[in-house]
Amino acid sequence: MKEITAYKCKKCGRIHYPKHERCLNCQHREFELVHPEGKAKLLTYTQIFNLPWGFDERFLYIGVVEFENGVKAMGQIAAPDGADVHTGMLLAAEWRPVRYVSGEPVYGLKFVL
């Protein structure tokens, strides 16, 4: 998943996404660039029915995952209404349009069952 860059502290190893100028754990300023790897484990999620302006869908599943190398991120889950979505499940991550602004796609993380 080269589209996402995370930042691993060169001193304490804490992984950050998004970017911070200093490590949230030890304030070190040097980071190794890493990309999410492997399956994404679903840490928590919700099915949102009252969407903000800019979305035409009736609902969206949104969740937070942890990849096998420790990178954590939010993204949309591609699932139909009533799908078996549960915490702890393993998902595949894809880079796909997550919304459209003036007809133009905005790309982001899409997790598929």
Binding site: Y17, I48, L51, P52, Q76
Partner: protein, 395 residues
């Protein structure tokens, strides 16, 4: 540092106020606070507002307010700190008086959210999320709360019945509060236990339902602050002492918290406020917690030390947080029923506690002999939190 007292408090009824502009509402609440204190001028004004620039396309709102209310040439600042703007503005006013730089300070908080559609109001509040790693996905504050609730339920055994009980309790109190947005009574059957509940109370951000959320409101609230040693010459009111405040921050994104169920900023802000006030959670008689979602009333009551983790929901079911219980929480109706005009909320909590500590509310809403009050104003999804400990002073 000088001790700081609240000598005036004012609020206008929250709800849908199509006839009023944002500055109208701030001005009405400010006048009520000035008149309540019995003062005609102030040295400085702090205005809390989150959305004027986005929703009304109006900026420099503090300058507009002092002009409108005839408070020129008082110093005037706008404080924008998301849904914690109100608490932040009160804090800045307290610091200004405590430092000795200003003697009389007006703090006014207001928000006008109902002139846009629900979609746009939801989008406006969502602009506080991370602009690259959260906002583009369509995450909303109810969505954040839904993800938090799922984990909190799994870890601490919070049930939907506990959440429903908070909605019922706070709407019951709201029905007695003339300043509340929602004055409708609800029943457990209506929103949880009957076939109709599916229609009445649909999921909003699973596992949260419609009645777990506060309404979108217009409203404003204001207080007047002065040094404690000048109270007698300035006002006839019983002073309410700002015994302590605390403020703390946490990660911008939910994903970067080691344990997303741990609201660290709530714990730290409360600890600071209690320490400064040399007060223990058990000494508090009345609390205003930031129940933008029902789950937050439980989670905050545990994080600040009123109840152990996992016990807050049980306390609600046992009636301990009702008026007349061990610790009445959100006797105002809370955000759930009073409403949540975001910039106004933190100030409205302080206004409510001031009234409680002055013992001037009608019997059906007054906490008997209340001497110490506590508030939590919860910004972002817990990434910026302000807490206050207030105490009844001597007249």
């Amino acid at each position: 540092m000088r001790d700081v007292a609240i000598i005036g408090a004012g609020m206008i009824p929250f709800g849908r106020r199509d006839q009023d502009t944002l500055v109208d509402m701030l001005a009405y609440a400010s006048l009520k606070a000035l008149d309540d204190a019995g003062v005609s001028a102030v040295d400085a004004v702090y205005v809390a507002n989150m959305g004027g620039g986005i929703l009304q396309r109006q900026t420099a709102i503090a300058s507009a307010l002092v002009d409108r209310v005839g408070l020129l040439p008082a110093a005037a600042d706008l404080v924008e700190n998301g849904p914690a703007s109100g608490g932040s503005a009160v804090k800045n006013g307290v610091l200004a008086v405590a430092s000795g730089y200003y003697d009389l300070v007006l703090v006014a908080g207001g928000e006008k959210m109902r002139e846009v559609t629900g979609w746009k109001a939801t989008d406006f509040v969502a602009t506080l999320t991370h602009p690259e790693t959260e906002y583009p996905y369509g995450i909303t504050l109810p969505g954040m709360a839904g993800m938090f609730t799922r984990l909190y339920m799994e870890k601490y055994g919070v049930t939907r019945e506990m959440l429903v009980e908070i909605a019922i309790k706070n709407q019951q109190m709201g029905a007695l509060n003339p300043y509340a947005h929602v004055e409708m009574l609800i029943t457990k059957e209506g929103i949880l236990d009957s076939p109709h509940s599916v229609v009445n109370n649909p999921p909003m951000a699973d596992p949260l339902h419609l009645y777990d959320a506060c309404p979108v409101s217009d409203g404003a609230a204001a207080v007047i602050l002065c040094p404690l040693d000048r109270v007698k010459e300035l006002t006839h009111n019983v002073p309410v002492i700002v015994a302590g405040f605390g403020q703390a921050t946490d990660t911008h994104t939910l994903a970067e918290r080691d344990d997303p169920t741990d609201l660290k900023a709530v714990t730290l802000a409360a600890q600071q406020a209690f320490e400064r006030a040399q007060t223990k959670p058990a000494e508090i008689n009345v609390a205003e917690l930031h129940d933008a979602f029902t789950i937050l009333e439980i989670a905050e009551s545990e994080h600040v030390g009123f109840f152990k983790k996992g016990e807050g929901g049980k306390a609600v079911l046992a009636g301990k947080t009702k008026l007349g219980g061990q610790l009445p929480i959100n006797v105002s109706g809370g955000l759930k029923a009073r409403g949540h005009p975001v910039g106004a909320t933190g100030v409205a909590q302080v206004v409510e506690l001031t009234w409680q500590l002055r013992h001037e509310l009608p019997k059906e809403r007054q906490v008997k002999n209340a001497r110490a009050g506590f508030s939590i104003n919860f910004g972002g999804f817990g990434n910026n939190v302000v807490a206050f400990v207030l105490k009844r002073g001597e007249k």
